[in-house]
């Protein structure tokens, strides 16, 4: 006889969410060699570009203003790469279909997949942060103080990233050649989200464009104001940075979520999710 699971849906959902996340992290660990290479690449990229921007030297003020923004980019870079790569690989190998043979709705599996990608991005960002902090301590003029209130815009940024990751995961389900496009998009984000140059030094039109169109920009700008400029949370809220960051993250999540679910439905309709 089959085992019929009568767990409450919420508890079952949590179990399956954990299952999907664990699988993602296990697969990540198996692929640790390419992961280490990716890690080295993103860590070095920051310093090389900072030296370039500084005209051959590291500028403490710029480092302080871009440090957290770069980490935000690392999370986005790794999470989106894992999501798109994972979706494509699982479509080609057929495990995506098997992972949908679950009593819960496909959105639970996609949430687990997203969670695994974000956790992976956060782990890598933490390693990069540790490495970068060691170098930062050796550079004069870096003034960066930790404040708990920065956790709020960082959380908002993570939601913003989640929406972006889901959007590109959904596109990968429909457009299998998305692999090349994602790298171009990631590079544009890296140049415009404040990871290398603070957005307030951009021309007005470019600053507006990056805050409107580029994920993470608003949340990371709010974080910069708290950690570097010492602004209290109320100020970041009242000057409009944080509210707009929240709106941006919410819109991003809704669009990403809708795009991913629509792509799954289309895949099921057209029988395109399998090998």
């Amino acid at each position: 006889m089959a085992t019929t699971v009568d767990l409450p849906t919420f508890r079952l959902g949590l179990r399956m969410l954990g299952n999907e996340t664990t699988k993602g992290l296990r697969v990540m660990w198996v692929h640790k060699a390419p992961l280490a290479l990716g890690l080295a690449y993103v860590a070095m990229l920051y310093w090389v570009i900072q030296v370039f921007i500084g005209g051959g030297r590291l500028v403490g003020e710029v480092l302080a203003m871009t440090f957290v923004a770069f980490l935000g980019y690392v999370v986005l870079y790794i999470a989106s790469l894992r999501m798109v790569g994972g979706v494509l690989e699982e479509m080609y190998t057929g495990t995506l279909e098997q992972s949908l043979l679950s009593p819960l709705r496909p959105w639970v599996a996609s949430t687990g997949r997203l969670a695994a990608a974000l956790v992976e991005g956060l782990v890598i960002a933490a390693v990069v942060a540790g490495f970068n902090l060691v170098i930062l301590l050796a550079v004069r003029g870096v003034e960066l103080s930790f404040r708990w209130s920065a956790a709020i815009p960082l959380a908002v940024t993570l939601v913003d990233i989640a929406g972006f990751v889901l959007l590109f995961g959904g596109i990968a389900l429909v457009v299998n050649s998305i692999g090349a496009v994602i790298h171009v998009v990631q590079n544009v984000i890296m140049m415009l989200n404040g990871a290398f140059i603070p957005v307030f030094v951009f021309p007005d039109w470019l600053e507006l464009a990056s805050k409107t169109l580029i994920p993470t920009t608003l949340g990371l700008d709010a974080t910069r104001q708290i950690l570097v400029a010492g602004a209290p949370l109320e100020q970041v809220w009242s000057n409009g940075t944080l509210p707009w960051a929240v709106v941006h993250a919410a819109v991003s999540l809704v669009i990403g979520w809708a795009a991913y679910q629509a792509a799954i439905r289309r895949g099921l309709r057209e029988g395109r999710l399998g090998a």
């Binding site: 992972s99 709705r105 099921l268």
Partner: protein
Amino acid sequence: MSEQLLKPHTTAGTAAAPAIELRQLTKKYGHLTAVLDVSLDVPAGQVLGLLGPNGAGKTTIIKMMTSLVTPTAGTARLGGFDIGKQRSRAVQQIGAVLEGSRNVYWSLSAWQNLLYFGRLKGLSKAEIRPRAERLLRELDLWDRRNEPVGGFSRGMQQKVAVAAALVTDPPIVLLDEPIIGLDVEAARTVRHWVRRMAREEGKTVVLTTHQLAMAEELADRVAIIRDGRIITDLPTRELLDHYAEDRFEIEVSGMTTTVAAGLGAKVAMESANGQATIQLPTSDQDALHAVLNELHHSSVPVLRVSRVRPSLEDIFVSLLKGDVGHGNDS
């Protein structure tokens, strides 16, 4: 032939609900109709062989049964649960090994795969562990349970896929080309497991395969699909009995065209390498005697006379060619 024999087998009128009920299942991709009006009832414990050439619609039917392809029309019920309306319950009734797919994660170990797929269906680790251990031991994978599946042979990988499909002990097992690409030994193991699932554990099995000998060996019933439609659906024995009219085969050597012409048009003959095989229906004893007399008078050496029963493969090929009638296209 009897029209009744050619209609889809159903359990209408029996007390027990069928394990699988398909009603007018249809799938269209734009103008292309992949599956059209497929209706089937599969009673619990039956092994159904779903046969058909490439592109006939077998895999699409399996995927509609698993909710991996959304039907254009029609319904599928598994264990009484509608896959469209009660997907959660329906999916818990099935384990599936899909065609052309790895089915399991090659970068994970066999043990991790079984834990993952067990939890995917909602089971706890405590529930999965004893089942996973039993399956891996019985499939001779226990000693290598912690190795990545990617390092296994094709046969071992398929065994892990079968184990993953069975880890929740589902009453319905869907096997889409389960032995394709396997060596003889691995194919034998999978065949053994299919037989065991059905005979000893009472599972309902739907098996699609190109290996007609496998279907003949394992399937209680065979449905043959062509162009998305079921053209024949009969118990295997009945299908063999119905279509497989026994025939006499006479093997001779030194057949000449003159002698062949003298045997008459009613005789089917194939020749190669100086030998010929003459085929006659067993119902026509007079023709047999006449042919043997003609061969005797012409001094053609007879090598063998035997009564032959056509295989499922012969019937399958004949049905697809349209050599024998089939009547349920309507």
